[in-house]
């Protein structure tokens, strides 16, 4: 294809997106569109899968059967969400194995928040309330993104995700209405998860390298800073309701903007964690790699079994 032809196709493509038409996997698309989507969707899928680990830590120690059933269901949903997103990503011509390989080699990233440890039961509350809360804010606009398979996966994810946040808030509420120790545990969890949750919405707009192009492709409909402000404005009243204090002395309602002003985010910490130096990066990755490597013989055996059955069927028929 000549350069002129490609340029022409690109113009038609951009116009389709501008008209809010969806792009489907077999449609012509610029290589950069494909690559950007593989990067973002796989990062999203990896985050769901790695995100199961900090919670898996508490399944056997949930304080009641009700909590255990809910946590199990939540973790199972996350596996499902990872699967929807991997499948959507594979429609762009990359295999599941390549995607895993990118995660395991560190080439692909996942959300930095999952590199923090879950040290008390209250962390299950804080993760549901804050981390899933921030995730929902990030994900809702993606239900309208331009790539059809991604948008469809996100619709399903968002539908399922709202229980995740509610069960987290309920855990926090129960602790806050409990003994002094329980309330202190909830406050401690908020103290540890607040700032990482704000970081989770991504670097500031000035630092964010992908924003402009992603906006054009509707891979992003609001900037990181806008999403962060939305998260803060929505969460502060919820913390008040719990009777907890957000660990930011500079947090103050601004009557003029109708939003909360907040303190400086420690971006050094964010970049340290992204680069692999968070408290649990190594642990998370080794759990993933081990699960994949130790499961290899099971995957192979299942395949061998399927092939043997198939041969038997063919032999019987002939």
């Amino acid at each position: 294809m000549s350069e002129k032809e490609v340029k022409n196709l690109e113009e038609i493509f951009e116009a389709r997106i501008a008209r809010d038409e969806k792009i489907e996997p077999k449609d012509w698309m610029p290589e950069k569109y494909r690559q950007t989507h593989i990067r973002q969707m796989s990062q999203h899928a990896h985050s769901e899968i790695v995100g199961m680990l900090p919670e898996g830590n508490w399944i056997t120690r949930a304080p009641s059967l009700r909590r255990k059933a809910a946590l199990l269901a939540k973790v199972q949903d996350e596996a499902g969400h990872g699967l929807y997103l991997y499948s959507a990503c594979e429609t762009l011509g990359i295999s599941r194995d390549e995607l895993y390989e990118q995660l395991h080699s560190g080439k692909a990233k996942y959300s930095s928040i999952f590199n923090y440890p879950t040290v008390t039961w209250a962390d299950m509350g804080a993760v549901g309330w804050l981390v899933d809360g921030a995730a929902i804010i990030n994900q809702v606009p993606l239900c309208n993104t331009s790539f059809g398979p991604y948008a469809r996966a996100m619709v399903r994810v968002c539908k399922e995700e709202s229980f995740h946040q509610r069960q987290g808030f309920e855990i926090m509420l129960t602790l806050c209405r409990g003994s002094e120790e329980q309330k202190a545990m909830a406050q401690d969890a908020l103290n540890r998860w607040w700032w990482p949750s704000l970081m989770m919405l991504g670097p500031t707009d000035a630092e964010s390298i992908h924003t402009e192009q992603s906006m054009k492709w509707k891979l992003k409909r609001k900037s990181n800073d806008e999403l962060r402000q939305q998260f803060i404005d929505q969460t502060v009243p919820q913390a008040d309701l719990l009777g907890l204090t957000i660990p930011d002395p500079d947090l103050k309602f601004n009557k003029e903007t109708g939003s909360y002003d907040f303190g400086e985010i420690n971006w050094d910490e964010f970049w340290q964690v992204v680069k692999g130096h968070g408290p649990c990066n190594k642990e998370r990755m080794s759990a993933r790699v081990n699960a994949w490597n130790n499961g290899e013989w099971v995957r192979d055996a299942a395949m061998a079994h399927a092939e043997k059955n198939e041969k038997r069927k063919v032999a019987k028929a002939s």
Binding site: E24, K26, D27, W28, A73, Q76, D77, G80, L83, Y84, S87, E90, S95, R96, D97, R152, A153, R156, E160, R299, D300, A302, M303, A304, H305, A306, N309, E310
Partner: protein
């Protein structure tokens, strides 16, 4: 030996009276496993009463590059639509 599990397309009927609709896809070693996984992945919240699993390689899809010749001819056949025909207002229910 290294052989990846094939890809399957999953179709779910959400309730009797409705058609099976494409829900998504997943990898599985065989049809039985595809069915079990489809149940766990796509019907955790009463989304369906019936599931079809089809190995993706068995689906023949049209090519978007051929959309012109495939679908455009229908555009100038307006006489296939009821609104093409002029009838007096007195004729009701037709």
């Amino acid at each position: 030996m290294k052989k990846n599990w094939p890809l399957w397309e999953i179709f779910v009927r959400s309730k009797n009276g409705l058609e099976h609709r494409h829900f998504g896809s997943l990898h599985a070693a065989d049809a039985e496993m595809a069915m079990e996984n489809a149940r766990d992945v796509y019907t955790r919240r009463n989304e369906g009463v019936s599931i079809w699993v089809v190995e993706s390689k068995n689906i023949t899809a049209s090519n978007p590059a051929d959309n012109g010749e495939m679908f455009e001819p229908a555009q100038d056949k307006v006489y296939r639509h009821p609104t093409f025909y002029d009838l007096p207002d007195e004729v009701k229910h037709m």
